[in-house]
Symmetry: D2
Subunit: 146 residues, 4 copies
């Protein structure tokens, strides 16, 4: 429903397949707008865990959300299978801007696209900390030129 | 965590109190970023239902989300009580831009703020339709000058 | 839809009002069966927090779910307002059986009823521990004879 | 945490893999008890859709939940991969009792098990109807002797 033209899969650098759930669908029979952010959240967290940016239970540095946005291009619905594409658009001192696309299986243009800003903070104080070098390298690996 | 300065309650025109839920909290003990969009979604839908903009089950015109965004200023957590503030920032031919703030009870500055664009469409075809006059009047009642 | 006769409000000892959310509704326009367990979960946790049975962030003893069940008597739907009734049906060495009813505002017989077994465990090892005396007293205060 | 001994994969007849999500985890870092019912709900619905028992958008007969239950044996956590096993334990005139197990990948004994009773009803009146013959045949295909 957004007027912005949807991007395609080639614009993303890392992918995670997600299975939709019955309760993702709302009264209109489509995945509810809120649920897309759960897809974003899951893809970002999985990237961060798999690349050892954070450890959910133990690491002294964790990530908190500063901003998230989604534009909805066309509906998806359970039991569709989807893939979330991820790329990194900007790496700051303490924060990273991820961009994400939700793709229905077999379709090249995104059903929805958005971004997600994560800030690296101390687990207890929630104070921003500089992004560690090994994290910066992992983020660079999915960086795109804008 | 967003760098944008948070707004306060006086900047909003209509309010809805929401009770937080145990599962709103994530592993860090704060309301997960995704859940804020459920608060937005609920406030917007309730405004639309109470002001008879739409009827969830029967009206030939329904609303679909085109875009949503949230900036997170400070954490909230179950069992906090919260209120969502709503205002209308722009009324187009077929779409409306709502702006929303999430307020913790007893706190005047927003814990999070964002926007939500709803497009009025035919229920079956999902084609945009002009906003009906009685809907436009209801939206005007919570309009703010920017 | 359950064949069991629904109970009424007088059968419960402690109550918590919950606001429904737009995304609680499923494709049929009623609150999805899964969401009732979130109502249960929230009422039980709030009772436990308010009566200082547990502290979500710090206490060395926490509660984990052993079993939960719900029988659905009649549908509810956003934007209904609901109240969850709670009572204690059995207090064991390490576990407690709560019983719960979901009531639509203005209706005396339950829309749904169920139970929830919580086990008191050490936060780190997840090993069951005897229910402390002050917790037992709080549970006794909402105990019913069966 | 349930005292009932967990079943294993061989006790189930149909399987569906589900990807866990970041927000499935609660404050203790494990999948919240509520979310298991979403796994159940999804597996049952998918079985029903794939075997053409119902059509979510159009069929005059739909299924509503009468009862659901879950026993929790051991925790799972995002980013675990899981599979839900399904079997049919009883077919009545208008209702079916499904039994379900949640299995962590690579583990043969269930992390959680439960049941789910679906009643076949007319979409508009919600009145129970006899289970159609083709549906009964599909259910028989995953029936187990108790």
């Amino acid at each position: 429903m957004s007027r912005h033209p949807p991007g395609n899969r080639a614009a993303y650098r890392w992918f995670h397949a997600i299975t939709t759930r019955w309760m993702d669908n709302d009264i209109y029979g489509h995945v509810n707008n809120v649920v897309y952010f759960s897809y974003f959240d899951t893809a970002v967290s999985l990237f961060e865990v798999e690349h050892r940016l954070i450890d959910l239970q133990r690491s002294p540095i964790v990530c908190v959300a500063a901003e998230s946005q989604c534009r909805y291009h066309r509906p998806i619905a359970f039991p569709d299978r989807i893939t979330v594409g991820l790329r990194c658009a900007r790496i700051g001192t303490s924060s990273v801007r991820y961009e994400l696309g939700v793709f229905r299986d077999g379709v090249d243009s995104a059903a929805a696209e958005g971004h997600f800003v994560h800030v690296f903070v101390e687990r207890d104080s929630l104070r921003p900390v500089p992004i560690p070098a090994h994290v910066r390298a992992a983020l660079q690996s999915i960086m795109v030129e804008v």
